[in-house]
């Protein structure tokens, strides 16, 4: 067994005046090996990656431990600086902000080579750059070289970043959540590229992520970071066949629909056109949908398929340009403002971003009390209180006197759910309600939604691109692509025998188990 390329012994990192976040961390990466590092958000993954590169944020200190690269102990900033880029490369989470916004791609790539390989002349550099771009799947280099970062899509940016890090031919690549900003299909392609590039060049890879199944697929060993140290990773991969969905009694076909869309068409452009203008670009194009009491319907599709627009259309945040939306049998478009206001509490939305959906200046008790005031209580209905709501979503009673900024993402999502429940809705629409959360928190929120829906007989419309979540929570599935329904049916059936290309692409994008050894 060869000596490790990078070895970390007993590393302790913490912010000044606070306890260690990384506390006695050990790691060894041999040349050509792929290692995964998983942990929930806040576990210190990114801090660790930065410590390995000698790039700790201000205020953070490395208090103990050794970082040894190729037999040499790294301690001074100069030693780290010599290795960075040339030997150890780093792929950032957010490619959009790590590319220079005002320089063309070519300039940035040339600059990188000028620093790391000053012996090359311009033509040689150009050749190397062309090869690197081809390697990351950006053939036809000329087209990309003259582009600015904002002209590239998220996946393309991440590829350019990858090409940039590969240029100096490093021995070790540290990728810090390289795909968490991408949709699953793109994330898969980027991960494939990453794996292929490291394999071809015999590079070592340290893949950092909160997404255990995905890491498991690409890495030989997985470390799990918890409370600052490595613990064995319990490998809970997505089974190839989805877990049996909870089976609430299938709604009879003719049960009255709570929400019904008939031939719904939505567009962000105005309906009125000049005769010579192009016809409307429909975001949702003639869509039919029925949600009955207690039903759990999932709407899935990749980014841009119109999922969120559908939610906005069903909630009349976006007017229907064609077709109609009915709530409890009433045509939404015909309701007056007051009538609409009175029926609104019955259908609630849980937003994707738990950081934007709570008023930062409103204390939790004020927020819930306000929501309770909107509830259309009829007589001696279930009396809810602020504390009752907090308990229902699993938050302690003292949360009532705190402000949203004092909660974590998962707790905020619980607060948002509590607020939605306050008005006693019959329907809960979740618009990517778990996609901004890390894996552990996602599971908790899904369990919570599952329990609440069962307890309160809520109908769920769960919009997502996460098939595992959908399989766990929903009994019916509806696949959206380009604003149309391309497939619908029972969740288990559909996931086992996908018909449409859109669903197959989403299924293929799911991580598959390949890991052999778990550290």
């Amino acid at each position: 067994m060869s000596a490790p390329l990078l070895e970390v012994r007993g590393l302790c990192v913490g912010f000044e005046g606070a306890a260690n976040i990384i506390d006695g961390f050990d790691l060894a990466i041999r040349a050509g090996e792929s290692i995964g590092l998983v942990g929930s958000s806040g576990a210190g993954k990114s801090l660790l990656a930065r410590a390995l590169l000698g790039l700790l944020p201000s205020g953070a200190r490395s208090r103990a431990g050794l970082v040894i690269y190729d037999g040499q102990t790294l301690s001074t900033p100069a030693q780290f600086a010599r290795l960075r880029g040339a030997h150890i490369a780093y792929v950032f989470q957010d490619a959009a902000s790590s590319l220079h916004p005002l320089k063309r791609v070519a300039t940035q790539l040339h600059e990188c080579l000028r620093v790391h390989a000053p012996e090359l002349d311009r033509a040689q550099r150009g050749r190397r750059i062309g090869e690197a771009l081809e390697e990351v799947g950006l053939a036809d280099a000329r087209r990309w070289l003259n582009a600015f970062a904002h002209q590239l899509s998220g996946g393309q940016r991440q590829r350019v970043m990858l090409a940039l890090t590969l240029l100096p031919q490093p021995k070790l690549l540290i990728a810090d959540e390289p795909t968490s900003a991408l949709d699953p299909v793109l994330a898969r392609r980027v991960c494939d590229l990453l794996a292929a590039a490291t394999q071809r060049r015999g590079m070592a890879l340290l893949l950092i992520s909160h997404d255990l199944p995905r890491v498991a697929e690409y890495c030989e060993r997985i470390y799990r970071l918890q409370q600052g140290r490595v613990v064995a990773a319990p490998l809970q991969c997505c089974a190839p066949t989805p877990a049996p969905a909870l089976t609430p009694a299938p709604a009879p076909a003719l049960a009255p629909a709570l929400i019904e869309a008939r031939g719904l068409s939505l567009s962000y452009a105005s309906n009125w056109r000049w005769p010579w203008q192009k016809p409307l670009a429909w975001v949702i194009d003639g869509l039919d949908l029925r949600l009955t009491a207690g039903q759990r319907l999932a709407v899935i599709g990749s980014s841009g398929s119109g999922k969120s627009s559908l939610a906005r259309g069903l909630l009349r945040l976006l007017p229907a340009l064609g077709g109609e939306v009915r709530w409890f049998g009433q045509d939404l478009a015909r309701l007056t403002t007051t009538q609409l206001r009175l029926v609104r509490p019955r259908v609630q939305l849980v937003f994707q971003d738990p950081f934007g959906s709570l008023d930062p200046l409103q204390r939790v008790d004020a927020m819930l009390a306000e929501a309770l005031r909107y509830a259309p209580f009829a007589g001696a209905q279930l009396r809810q209180s602020v504390h009752g709501l907090l308990a229902a979503v699993g938050l302690p009673a003292d949360a009532a006197t705190r402000y949203p900024s004092q909660f974590s993402g998962g707790q905020r999502q619980r607060l948002a759910i509590a607020r939605a429940l306050a008005t006693q809705p019959a329907v809960l629409i979740c618009d990517e309600a778990t996609s901004a959360l890390d894996a552990d928190t996602q599971t908790q929120i899904l369990n919570l939604l599952d329990r609440l829906a069962a307890e309160r007989g809520l109908a769920l419309l769960f919009i997502s691109h996460d098939l595992a979540a959908v399989a766990r929570l929903c009994d019916r599935l509806l696949v959206l692509d380009g604003g149309r329904i391309v497939e619908q049916g029972e969740t288990t059936q559909l996931l086992n025998a996908p018909q449409s290309a859109a669903l197959r692409a989403l299924l293929d994008a799911r991580p598959q188990r390949r890991s052999s050894e778990i550290a």
Partner: protein
């Protein structure tokens, strides 16, 4: 029980210190009016052009006709602060209403209000102010109205942007979806969230108002001949600069302190705005 974001904001040292400086100046001005043995407008025969000294009781000296400089400067600070704050508040309230309506309602209402705003902003402030004050009897109220009116144009623009951002914020949509009326949305979410930006705007509008007032007073269009704002004092100090430099330096230093206080306060508030408006 956790402190509200507002409390945390105002207890921050960078916000608290300039706030205290301004409070101190205002307090001194009030105390002087109540207990100082000399009044700002009363000349004292035989005591003209005394240099600042401890012993003769005129700590900051006297001016050409024997008025006590301490009393005059403190009264001037009071006038300047009153006009600055009055104009600033007027600008915020008026500009806030216009900006909030334009930003929240959007569409043609927004276009109309903002184009009128642009039109007024393109007029030369100083000329209009001089014209208005020359036409009517100069008074503190008129000055506040003119300076505050102009300040409201800027404030409206700043607050409109913020209102537009807030209108599309998820928490506003959430309250709409819960059945809140437009007025409830405005009162419970939009206005409280506009306040931090409004305060920051106050940090630019108030010093501007104080400067404009000083400039007008310097030109002789001040609110009151008898008491005089800092601008009036400056105008008189310039005339006596050669033989009594303190008559210029003292009010100039006072004006600089006020502007420094508001400047630091505005900067500190702007830097900490994220504490309030972003929930992260």
């Amino acid at each position: 029980m956790t402190p509200s974001p507002w409390r945390t904001l105002f207890l921050a040292r960078a916000v608290f210190a300039p706030f205290c400086l301004l409070l101190l100046l205002a307090g001194l001005s009030g105390l002087t009016a109540a207990w100082w043995p000399y009044t700002p407008g009363q000349p004292i025969w035989g005591q003209d052009l005394l240099a600042p000294a401890w012993l003769h009781g005129h700590w900051l000296g006297t001016d050409a006709i024997g008025r006590d400089m301490w009393a005059r400067t403190m009264a001037g600070i009071g006038v300047s602060l009153a006009i600055g704050l009055g104009a600033g508040l007027l600008a915020l309230i008026f500009g806030g209403i216009i900006g909030a309506i334009a930003g929240f309602v959007g569409g043609w209402v927004d276009e109309l209000l903002m184009r009128i705003n642009d039109l007024l902003l393109s007029l030369p402030l100083m000329l209009i102010a001089i014209l208005l004050i020359a036409l009517f009897e100069p008074s503190m109220g008129l000055l506040i109205l003119v300076v505050g009116g102009f300040g409201s144009l800027d404030a409206a623009r700043i607050l409109r942007m913020e209102a537009r951002r807030l209108r599309n914020a998820d928490f506003m949509i959430a309250s709409q979806l819960q059945g809140a009326t437009v007025l409830q949305q405005l009162a419970r979410h939009l206005l409280p969230n506009l306040l931090p930006v409004a305060l920051t705007a106050l940090g630019t509008v108030v010093p501007q108002a104080i400067l404009v007032e000083s400039f007008l007073a310097f030109l002789g269009l001040g609110p009151s001949e008898r008491v005089g704002s800092l601008g009036t004092l400056l105008a008189e100090g310039v005339q006596d600069l050669q033989w009594a430099p303190w008559t210029l330096w003292v009010p100039a230093a006072a004006l600089a302190l006020i502007l420094l206080g508001f400047g630091l306060l505005g900067d500190a508030l702007r830097a900490r705005l994220r504490l309030l408006t972003s929930s992260g």
